[in-house]
């Protein structure tokens, strides 16, 4: 088991967002997390990544046999957790090259490896840039500064390729993408899939799942996973809409 989440509760400024999430992810699996707006999908991603503004009030998260909640953001990243941001941050003055070189070498240091030399690093960059069709022009610019929505998302996938995470969480990577960019992003993910890593793909729409085929689909609603299934569940959701879930939950008397 790569990741095991049990009864996870999390809140921000006293407001509970996650109300008991339980989810297991094995190596080699792709899990899609779906659900309407404001149900806690991004919060789940942030809590796994370790964003400090969220308070975990109950439950546990075990990752590679370790208590993940005890680790700082950067330690989680060095242990192989990657978050593809829904809104990648612009950092004027920091070039992508320099950013990635620092990240790669800090992760290597954590693993007891020697830093990558300039030549080896640039070679690695060239290779990964091709994977996501990132132009050299973009790589020399400041991180995300003045990038279009599509460029920002490509840049996220590029970083993921550079860092080779064990668990990658993609938070609405498809939002704001045209069909070509979507294909590039999905191709990048598919090329990076191995039997040793896992993906959590957070999305609103079924569309992305035509390209990244999930092993499991979970529906998050009001802070809980209310339905899990295979890729067919995504199609069913596409057909029936989230109202279907809402009505079903109201019928159970949980929501409201």
């Amino acid at each position: 088991m790569l990741l095991s989440i049990k009864n996870l509760h999390a809140s921000i400024n006293g407001k509970e967002i996650l109300k008991g999430i339980t989810l297991d992810v094995n190596q080699g699996e792709v899990h899609a997390i779906m659900g309407p707006n404001g149900t806690g999908k991004s919060t789940l991603a942030s809590v796994i990544a370790g964003r400090e503004v969220f308070d975990v009030t109950a439950g546990e998260v075990i990752y590679k046999g370790k208590n993940l909640l005890k680790l700082a953001v950067e330690e989680r990243a060095r242990e192989g957790i990657f978050l593809g941001f829904q809104y990648p941050v612009e950092i004027p003055g920091v070039s992508i090259t320099n950013f990635m070189r620092t990240a790669v070498n800090e992760i290597r240091k954590y693993k007891g490896l020697d830093p990558l030399g300039g030549g080896a690093f640039l070679k690695l960059m060239e290779e990964k840039k091709k994977l996501v069709e990132l132009t050299s022009n973009l790589a020399n610019r400041s991180v995300n500064e003045g990038f279009s929505g599509g460029e920002k998302k490509k840049n996220e996938i590029f970083q993921m390729a550079m860092l080779e995470p064990t668990l990658a969480i993609l938070d609405e990577t498809d939002s704001g993408l045209d069909i070509d960019a979507l294909r590039v992003v999905a191709n990048g993910v598919n090329k990076l899939r191995t039997k040793d890593n896992a993906f959590m793909v957070i999305t609103h729409y079924q569309r992305l799942l035509d390209y990244i085929v999930p092993d499991f689909v979970h529906v998050l609603f009001e802070g809980r996973i209310v339905k899990s299934g295979t890729k067919e569940l995504a199609l069913e959701l596409e057909e029936k809409g989230y109202d279907w879930i809402r009505k079903e939950q109201e019928g159970k008397g949980i929501a409201g």
């Binding site: 953001v73 950067e74 090259t97 320099n98 860092l163």
Partner: protein, 469 residues
């Protein structure tokens, strides 16, 4: 040594000192200069030293600076080993070096050089003897001894400083570097005066450094007047790296004739109390000025940048960008004042001041101010003060970068917006290194000051080496 400025001395000390030594001070003057000095000391006597009751000094308190005792030296020191004091260690920076020790011009051979292309550079005291007419045409014409007490005091007392003259149509082949070093075994109060004259259509790059080599307290009151003739162009750098016990009041007055171009960079890395008084006047149309500042303060350091730009003629452009990082108990002031006069139509001016406060005890007072007397202008100003971008911190850390490195990366990137404007490549690389060291808290006197000579280079420990890529 001519006097000892006692703790909390009053203006009477200086007026008395002036009367006592007037004959010696004015010995090399042309007649009008002595009149200027007499008037200046009278103005100083009326105003005294500024206090926090004055608007322009509201947030800069000199009390601590005046709580120390200082020597006042009115004659040059003898037996200075110039070779030892000044040897620039910026790799590949090929400059003509002018040295100043405790405000006095020091030279290897002659006190005033006259180069083949007509450029004159050297001691102001010497130039007063040899070129009084050239000096008289400019000296005291731009500096404001009427309302600025420190400038008045400087006018009354200065004995020496740097003089540079670039004739019409001459472009200085290499940058000129003024290295002003303070090195004295007792506390020192010094007042030097610099005059830089650029003829029509001339060009100069000038690097002006203030350094101290020990931890002795000092109080410098330095006035620099810079004249740019028609179509003249000046690239000006002011580097300040003084010890924490030093007070520096630096006043630079720029006078710009038609279509003159100025780029001025203020890089303040260290100092106890630094006050940069920058006053620039457009004295003809189509002038263009850009003033950049970066300041990195910590401990109880204080920085005060006062920038005044007078758009007295139409079609001029001015831009200001000052950025600061304030740590621990340090404090900062930015007062930007752009005056657009009635006839200065089609003026284009912007001011921007940004500050990052790293602690709750650091503080800054920022006041960009536009005073506009006509409608046909494009002016803007802005000021922001905040912490490091927490979203960016999270983003960097999520990629495995440790908190400390992430902070460094962001602070450096923030400073780089100003540093990247430095046009002399070796200087920029050196400043980049110094800023990195400074941000890591490593920069110390005698270890890495811009120009220190006799100490071997310390290895760079910076984890993020931006220059290798």
């Amino acid at each position: 040594m001519e006097g000892v400025l006692k703790q909390n001395s009053t203006k009477e000390f200086f007026t008395g000192l002036y009367r006592e030594h007037r004959a010696a001070i004015t010995a090399g003057d042309y007649p009008a200069l002595t009149i200027q000095r007499d008037n200046a000391i009278r103005r100083f006597e009326e105003s005294g030293f500024p206090t926090t009751k004055l608007e322009a000094w509201k947030n800069t308190d000199l009390k601590e600076s005046f709580s120390k005792e200082y020597d006042i030296v009115l004659e040059p020191e003898q037996g200075v080993d110039v070779q030892k004091v000044f040897r620039c260690n910026i790799p590949h920076l090929d400059t003509a070096i002018m040295g100043q020790l405790n405000g006095w011009y020091v030279s290897k051979d002659v006190p005033l050089m006259e180069l083949g292309n007509g450029i004159i550079m050297g001691s102001l005291a010497e130039a007063l003897k040899k070129y009084p007419a050239l000096i008289e045409a400019h000296l005291g014409k731009y500096a404001d001894s009427n309302t600025d007490a420190f400038t008045a005091l400087n006018t009354a007392f200065f004995r020496d400083g740097v003089f540079i003259y670039v004739p019409d149509n001459v472009k200085s082949p290499k940058p000129v570097q003024i290295i002003n070093v303070i090195h004295h075994d007792r506390n020192l109060f010094l007042q030097s005066r610099n005059l830089i004259v650029l003829g029509k259509n001339s060009r100069l790059s000038l690097v002006h450094c203030d350094d101290s080599y020990n931890h002795q307290p000092s109080f410098s009151n330095v006035v620099t007047e810079i004249y740019l003739g028609e179509h003249a162009s000046l690239d000006h750098y002011k580097l300040q790296n003084l010890n924490n016990a030093s007070t520096l009041i630096s006043s630079v007055y720029f006078q710009m004739d038609t279509a003159a171009q100025l780029e001025s960079h203020y890089i303040s890395l260290n100092g106890g109390l630094l006050r940069n008084n920058v006053r620039q006047r457009f004295n003809g149309p189509h002038g263009d000025t850009k003033i950049y500042g970066i300041y990195l303060m910590d401990a109880r350091q204080h920085i005060d940048n006062q920038v005044f730009i007078d758009h007295a003629f139409p079609d001029c452009t001015s831009g200001e960008l000052f950025k600061g990082i304030l740590d621990e108990h340090s404090s900062g002031v930015f007062n930007g004042h752009v005056l657009v006069e009635r006839n200065a139509v089609r003026t284009n001016a912007y001011q921007s001041n940004k500050n990052i406060l790293l602690t709750e005890t650091a503080k800054v007072n920022s006041k960009p101010f536009l005073e506009i007397y006509n409608d046909d202008v494009k002016c803007s100003h802005g000021s922001t003060t905040g912490q490091l971008d927490q979203d960016a911190m999270y983003y960097l850390r999520q990629r495995g970068i440790g908190e400390e490195s992430a902070r460094m990366l962001l602070m450096y990137a923030y400073a780089d917006e100003v540093i990247s404007k430095i046009a002399i490549d070796p200087l920029r690389l050196r400043i980049e290194d110094m800023v990195k060291k400074r941000l890591q808290g490593e920069l110390q006197i005698c270890e890495a000051c811009v120009l220190h000579c006799n100490t071997p280079e310390q290895p760079m420990e910076f984890v993020i080496d931006m220059t290798k890529l």
